[in-house]
Symmetry: C2
Subunit: 139 residues, 2 copies
DNA sequence: TAAATAGAGGATTAATTTGTCCTTTATTAA
DNA sequence: TTAATAAAGGACAAATTAATCCTCTATTTA
């Protein structure tokens, strides 16, 4: 469904959001340990998240990453930043000209799934306490 | 969502189902022309579909592929044959131990989407006339 | 039974994704 | 103001996925 990089990105953002609650910045090493991802690869993903305005980064001692302040960050923002919007917008069969007026054979079979996926990605906020406190962690 | 190979596989199956209605077997060349896919790559996918019991193949002149007779072929069979059941069963964050009792942070956000996807894949039959007659074709 | 047809399948190449290594740049605090 | 810290980023390597090439085998029909 999501690329590996995007899976990492979502975990990264949830983990940083958890630290934000405790008023802490988060470094790459801490992240890759916490979510069990390769450190250098995670660093690249972090760069993309910064470039897309979802994170702020700070160099030097006491440096690290923070969620962009004063911004509602939603799952859809993360997925778009890393995987683009193929999943949200493209035809499941990869057909360029598929649409409601011009549907591919399975278009209407998947339209509800697509809609619900978009609804979930749009409505899930990364600072949602449910997201941060529930669950088995990120490993 | 689906791999490229799986997108081809679904188109292939729908196209062959269309020819079945007209009582015709379908060759690789005809398929790759019809769905606009690389011929040799399509041939590999066809082999997998045969190995998984979804198609029967025949060599020589008048040869080609047919849907396995007397078998309800569902979308889920095709996806499983080509992409395995990662999409249907694995955690969206790729976590090995994620489950209802042991949910990852987004588990319950995606559970409905997962269920609906499974429902759609299970209930969509490849011989469904709606699938074959509707739509813009497979290109 | 020979020639043409068509799938099977091994080997290889290309492209993309995933992951690593190493140097540079900015920042902080002693 | 220098030493330590931490992100930025370029270059490269490995793994996976997508695609191609070529030969072999089976089947049909003339």
């Amino acid at each position: 469904m999501f690329s590996r990089a995007c899976e990492y990105a979502i975990k990264i953002m949830i983990y940083i959001a958890g630290n934000e609650q405790e008023g802490r910045r988060t470094g790459v090493k801490e992240i890759s340990d916490a979510i069990n991802s390769p450190e250098a690869f995670s660093a690249k993903i972090l760069q993309q998240l910064v470039k897309n305005g979802l994170l702020s980064s700070y160099k030097g001692p006491t440096g690290g990453f923070e969620l962009s302040p004063n911004k509602k960050i939603k799952l859809v923002d993360i997925v778009k930043a890393i995987d683009g919007n193929k999943l949200m917008e493209s035809c499941v069969l990869g057909l360029e000209n598929c649409s409601g007026e011009n549907p591919c054979p399975v278009h209407f079979k998947f339209i509800e799934i697509r809609d619900q996926l978009n609804e979930t990605l749009l409505s899930t906020e990364i600072r949602d306490p449910e997201l941060i406190t529930k669950g088995i962690g990120l490993t």
